[in-house]
Symmetry: C3
Amino acid sequence: MTRTLGEIAGHIHAELHGDPRCEIGSIDTLENARAGAISFFSNRRYLHLLKTTRASAVILKADDLAACPVQALVVDNPYLGYARAARLLYPDAPHAPGIHPQADIHSSAKVSAGARVGPFVSVGSNTVIGENAWIGPGCILGKDVMIGADTRLIASVVICHGVVIGKRCILHPGVVIGADGFGIANDNGTWLKIPQVGGVIIGDDVEIGANTSIDRGALDNTVIEDGVKIDNQVQIGHNVRVGAHTAIAGCVGIAGSAKIGKRCLIGGAAGISGHLEIADDVTLMAMTGVANSIREPGVYASAIPAMDARIWRKNAVSFKHLHKLAARLNRLESKS
Amino acid sequence: MTRTLGEIAGHIHAELHGDPRCEIGSIDTLENARAGAISFFSNRRYLHLLKTTRASAVILKADDLAACPVQALVVDNPYLGYARAARLLYPDAPHAPGIHPQADIHSSAKVSAGARVGPFVSVGSNTVIGENAWIGPGCILGKDVMIGADTRLIASVVICHGVVIGKRCILHPGVVIGADGFGIANDNGTWLKIPQVGGVIIGDDVEIGANTSIDRGALDNTVIEDGVKIDNQVQIGHNVRVGAHTAIAGCVGIAGSAKIGKRCLIGGAAGISGHLEIADDVTLMAMTGVANSIREPGVYASAIPAMDARIWRKNAVSFKHLHKLAARLNRLESKS
Amino acid sequence: MTRTLGEIAGHIHAELHGDPRCEIGSIDTLENARAGAISFFSNRRYLHLLKTTRASAVILKADDLAACPVQALVVDNPYLGYARAARLLYPDAPHAPGIHPQADIHSSAKVSAGARVGPFVSVGSNTVIGENAWIGPGCILGKDVMIGADTRLIASVVICHGVVIGKRCILHPGVVIGADGFGIANDNGTWLKIPQVGGVIIGDDVEIGANTSIDRGALDNTVIEDGVKIDNQVQIGHNVRVGAHTAIAGCVGIAGSAKIGKRCLIGGAAGISGHLEIADDVTLMAMTGVANSIREPGVYASAIPAMDARIWRKNAVSFKHLHKLAARLNRLESKS
């Protein structure tokens, strides 16, 4: 969608340095943008690309205006300005409502008039699909499911029985919501499956990445609060609660009954044990392992960074004796 | 399903302290249970919840009977009692047998009379679906597959050609069984794919979580023995063997040709290298990395727990020199 | 397919020690092979199996010829010889071209005459499916997708709009290509989704394992170069570039905008942070965490190996004070 530079400046609350009538049809990197495209500059590492950009205009901070060879939109937070401009230039495509003839909809399900249901979609009894929702090809919805207005299930998403999903959510392909939690009891050496009779409640404005799974609760519900953003390949166990506006990067695993605070940032491949609490405003760096509750906001980490494998091998051996090294150091100190 | 307290007591082998005719229709947490619901108490951390519960009855140990304000069922293992009671109150829903008109079944496939096959299911040639099996919507079964009696593929499960699955198994949405193993040979800088001509054998009473994948063998079969329970997002490589009644938590990766013993407990996000053996009765804590065989039963671990990132950064730097610290300590000791 | 030993020897460039007319119908392990089967020997750990094998012939090195009790094919690299022999004995099954009547193909899509499209496949507008391609049951292809000649999507693969896939690729079940990258901007405590307007370009001869996801770019494309081999459960973020002939084992996560070199070997469950570069010919051992660019070829690692949990617990505690241990050692040295 083409917009004028003036429209974009207004939309992102920017100070315009340039021609408000200049037409912008796309957004691109500093390197690739050409006439008709806008770009943004938020990382000083790429200053050389700013200086040589051929974009029609760049979204940037006032401090960087002097270095910009083209028109500029000055904002406090160029990355946020970019996000807003991109949303203006690339609005969600409207969809034609209707139910594909190759969908299988139970007679008791209620599909809103403005919703779209694609081919090879199965919808169970008493399930409700909200106004303007998009149920893409190959999605499977069990019985008693509720899908909020304007929510989009892109394709091949599975929503098990009784799951409630809020408004304006986006669920990417391969997502599974509401499969049984991992509830087993040991009965003299074999495992007895425990029926998982809780549900899953997903709030509004939640995004869930490809092939992510969120299990239903054992007794209570698993709850994902409003505005949570979850990347791909994430595993969320039964009875987990994720606080509002927390962001979870790819490959994270959260074990059963963990309670994650609001506005947390969970780095990629972090692992969180079950039955613990993480406070609001906690950041976990990538690959961090959390085995105990974290009570204070702050940044936490535990991953060992990569090193030359020859050095690593020696250090890994030393680690096996680390507590002995510490004891030996104590003895030396007491002698000296 | 409603049961009397007396029926439940009998089913779970409990000593009843209360009215055997009391009707119980559900099971819930100590906190949420109300009249008509039973609960259980197995973790002393929640003693305050036991004391204030409004459940009709609680499953607990004899030692905790005095603290219980309501009727009680006394057992040795309340968690197991809970599992049994839940299974009594929430039996698997019986399914109406039959093949959905929008399924695609090869003419040579054999679907037992009592099996149910959902919409958008594809079944290949010579595949056999056992008595009372449930093949949910969107499942894809290749040719020469065998699905045992009473096994349930919830939805969107893919079973590749020649895979054999036992009786009473449960496969959750997104599971992929029998995709090609990662077999490649380096041919002067490029990779030559090696045909994966083995199969996968899954025993009886196996449960496999959402989006988990188990590869077919290169030559021999990949084998999952009876009673194994696997959580979500697990990866099991070609020619792995998992011993009976082992439980594998979410996000675990097991590389090719690893042999895992019986009754092991594999913690979440553990990683197991290929071509090694793990003895029976081994427990791996969460995020443990196993690079060598483990010959003795016991508990093993390797993950570094989360700490304040400022402290972590210093420790991570020190770790890079750990073997030198050890050598320096040796020198100091020899001097002193 | 049955071949003579002479044909196999010629195909794998081996020196034949045996009867060139001997018929070989299968390939199997040293232990399981019987008359009519060929095997291979590449790992001296299995020397006892070579000495007792009942295979008709074994592919091996000249050095091991004397230990072989049966016919032999001598090559420099027996594992590569095995790969080549397996490809000769187990060629890809040819498929009958055609579109299944229960597929849903947009009228503007172009399906080549020799391609096969299975049941419950959805193909969007303007999508092109190349000659001899195989689109298995349950696959979902968005609009403007290009699938190269001879490429196979086994089953339940999702390809989002605009993705380009090369020739002779194999995509296993549950693969998702081109879902939105994890692009969000913080707007005063809540997250604003950034439209992901880049695409995904997959080269020729790429194999992608079950349940792996590769996100579309934010502005530029995500690129997987020719000959890359990716195992199961891998996550590749937006704008990642993976260099030609790199192999990525299962459960690996690669965060956005990372650039991986050519011919790298990425071990299982390794984690690679975003916005960094890894040189050509880098090997990462399993579970390695990479937080900074790696400029030099070589082998890198960081995982702590498993140990008895009682020892581990002490060492993990010592690790929390490791930088203090180092400082104390400095002080002692300066005193002595």
